[in-house]
């Protein structure tokens, strides 16, 4: 038994011969919230539109519960897919009231059922008092809720959300995403959530699919994506990591800030890159210095230092809020991660030897 509700295989879609999506594979499991995240123009919205049926793929297949939605011979139109969509601009019908908007998808039900369902949905999103309002009388957050209620009313099998919080201000955004996540989980809904905001993706998604250049780079749990990025793009996009070049030697990886005793299955002398986050780096004033403080940004609980190495490479390092150093101070910077660092060879992650998981300490 396959618990994938939706499966996309080798999808390809071009717009005026520019590929927006190519070789895309994606599965949406029953009951999960999958956050599709990536920089703008990476093809995530196109993916959503392909699943919704607003676009027809040039190649590839989309399956839903074992039935084809789209392949060489079949194309199920959007109205037959039972897939709900919450649009980025909400797409509330401006000429219909809140209640009429929510009732729009219930056209096959009796008036009494419609009335009851609309009331239920408005109750669910907390808009019971506003049934008769017109869209232009609503605030941004209220419109968002109407859009959600309207999409949920016909009980779709899947809900697609296209950057649903991007036009709200920060406070409302945090509040609403909490509400929406709670709602989706309570209703045991399967949902695909598209966003360009990594933090939002980490919050919303049971699983994350990181997209770039038209295909999925990595699909995994938020924790795995954060700790084991599949490639350099994922590491940079999700973690704001510094990329530190190094050479594979017998004891580990030799870098500008010293030897990292972490073995990789590569021949000696291979050039690799290590993802070191700002919290993986420490510095002090002892011994031989290898960098100079460029700037300090005070962030309350901690200080973010920018340090330029002798080679010119600039790394970011955190220090507690009480550790203050002047700009221009020469320092000795070192790795202090306490976990294995992600290592990339030609941009792709290379796993370390299993038996050498020593604490990574100062050389």
């Amino acid at each position: 038994m396959n618990d994938n509700l939706i499966e996309c295989c080798q999808l390809e879609k071009c717009f005026s011969s520019q590929p927006a999506v190519s070789g895309l594979n994606l599965e949406l499991r029953d009951g999960e919230i999958l956050a599709l995240v990536g920089p703008s123009g990476c093809g995530k919205t196109t993916t959503l539109r392909l699943i919704a049926g607003f676009e027809r793929p040039d190649r590839g297949e989309i399956w839903m519960q074992g039935r084809p939605l789209s392949n060489e011979d079949t194309f199920v139109p959007p109205e037959k897919r039972q897939i709900g969509v919450v649009f980025q601009d909400y797409a509330i019908f401006p000429h219909l009231s809140v209640a009429e908007n929510v009732a729009f998808g219930l056209h096959k039900k009796s008036p009494a059922q419609v009335k009851q369902r609309v009331a239920e949905m408005l109750e669910l999103v907390g808009l019971s008092g506003l049934a008769k309002r017109m869209p232009h009388q609503l605030s941004g957050g209220e419109r968002q809720r109407v859009a959600l209620a309207r999409a949920l009313a016909p009980q779709p099998k899947v809900l697609l959300l296209d950057e649903p919080f991007s036009s709200l201000d920060m406070d409302l955004r945090l509040k609403l995403r909490e509400e929406v996540r709670w709602l989706l989980k309570n209703l045991h809904l399967t949902a695909l959530f598209v966003t360009h905001d990594q933090e939002e993706a980490l919050y919303m998604g049971d699983r994350l699919a990181v997209m770039n250049q038209g295909h999925v780079q990595q699909a995994d749990s938020p924790e795995r994506i954060f700790s084991h990025p599949a490639n350099r793009f994922v590491a940079e996009f999700m973690g704001n990591a510094n990329l530190l070049p190094g050479q594979v030697v017998e004891q580990g990886i030799e870098t500008e800030i010293g030897l990292i005793p972490q073995r990789v299955a590569l021949p000696f002398g291979s050039s690799v890159e290590l993802a070191v986050r700002a919290d993986d780096l420490g510095f002090d004033l002892h011994g031989e210095t290898n960098g100079v403080i460029l700037s300090r940004i005070f962030k309350g609980v901690l200080n973010v230092y920018q340090i330029r190495l002798t080679s010119g490479l600039v790394l970011e390092a955190f220090q507690p809020h009480y550790r203050m150093f002047p700009e221009g101070q020469a320092v000795r910077i070192f790795a202090d991660a306490g976990h294995e660092l992600a290592c990339f060879y030609n941009g792709v992650a290379i796993t370390a030897d299993e038996y050498h998981l020593d604490r990574v300490t100062k050389a």
């Binding site: 607003f54 139109p77 232009h136 309207r150």
Partner: protein, 516 residues
Amino acid sequence: MPAALVALAMTVPLFYLVIRAAGASPAAWSWLLRLQTLQIIGQSIGLALAVMLSAVIIGLPTAWLVTRTNLPGKTLWAALLPLPLVIPSYVSAYLFVSLFAPRGLLQNLLEGWLGIERLPSIYGFWGAWLVLTLMTYPYVFLAVRAGLIRTDRSLEEAARSLGYSAWKTFWKVTLSQLRPALAASSLLVGLYVLRDFGAVSILRFTTFTRAIYLQYQSSIDRSAAALLSLVLVLITIGFLVGEQRIRRSSAEQPYTAVHPAPPVDLGHWRVAAIVIIIGVLLGALILPAGVLFYWLVRGLAAGEQLSGWLRPLTGSLTASGLAAVITVIAALPASLLSVRRPGFFSQLIEKWSYLGYAVPGVVIALSLVFLGANYLPLMYQTLFMLLLAYGILFLPQAVGNLQAVLRQVQPSLEEAAASLGHSPLRVFQRITLPLVMPGASAAAALVFLTAMKELPATLLLAPTGFSTLATQVWGAVSEAYFARAALPALILILVSSISILLINHHTSDEGSAQRT
């Protein structure tokens, strides 16, 4: 103060009309209630409604075809379809009459070939309906097209994801979105028909404007014409208020298309669509142009004298040129006041500007005739009266344009100049005037061009012996000298094209009814 004077000058004629109507003799009142008068009202409104309906029937599908489908040559059709707007209604009527009239072009042709001696008459309701429909469908076309371009694809996609088929989505969502545009533009069409004088007169269908003109010409008791005018103004105001309401309520929906909708594949229907569009263009553009060309060539071949149209041309240039300068100068204080010191009085001026759109030229002319004949005998039958009429008719347009220009001049510029020690007058001279000058000249050009096309007021108020291109066309057509009308008609079409180009350049103005 100057603003108040201008406002006063504009309102006096209408007030006088009211007074005159109130003092109408019992005979005039009973005339108003006669069956014949009711018939005029019925015919006017009937024609307006019929033209509104047919303009929608032509304008809506053509706009959809050139905006939302994969029709070949969309840009070309989209550019050609609104073009009938540039033909003044009486010119179009002249061209159709010269084609279909008993002694017209088609009759001659058919008689020669087939021996057909009688064509269905172009005169009356059907002729007026046909000509006015072909003149006014561009209003609907442009409004619907703008509405379609504005609608984001997500609205239609939302309906699809909620289980509506493409066809049902069109009816429930797309068309509903267009309802304000359709309603406002068809009211505009109705307003055009009610105000129109030239076409209905040439096609001999008695609506208000023609009845007022005939009444004015024939009877001694002109109060009846005044009464009739008031009834007409009330109806047009009703249309205008309706149009403004819709415009305002639809402005509350701040929708702009981020993603335009993808084109609909017409498949084999493409051929039918192109046939429909070419059919419309044939009637509205190609046929009139061909007929005009025919008369032009025939007139030249028959040795139509150039000197014959030189006098009307200078007449047009003089009257319109003076009107442009006077109107813009008069509009400046009112616009300044309403932009810089918004308040009750400036709102009044603004309201009046809208009202100005509702009052047909023939009514303004008539009220000035009364006023001139009774109180200003020295001015009556001089160019001054005509210029006054132009001023009243085109002031709203000039004010609208100037307001738009003035809004772009930041008050801080004037304040900066004042803080540097300049008196208000000098600030106006050194800062405001140079900045609004380009806009003001555009406004003047627009008044100039619009005044050249004006027919009814010119007809009623021009001094004896003074003729313009518009009256030249009118005169030649009334006497069935079709070839003589061709050249002035061509010049008028060119003039009108330029003015529409200018309007499109200055869409920043209130965007209300365009005077034609």
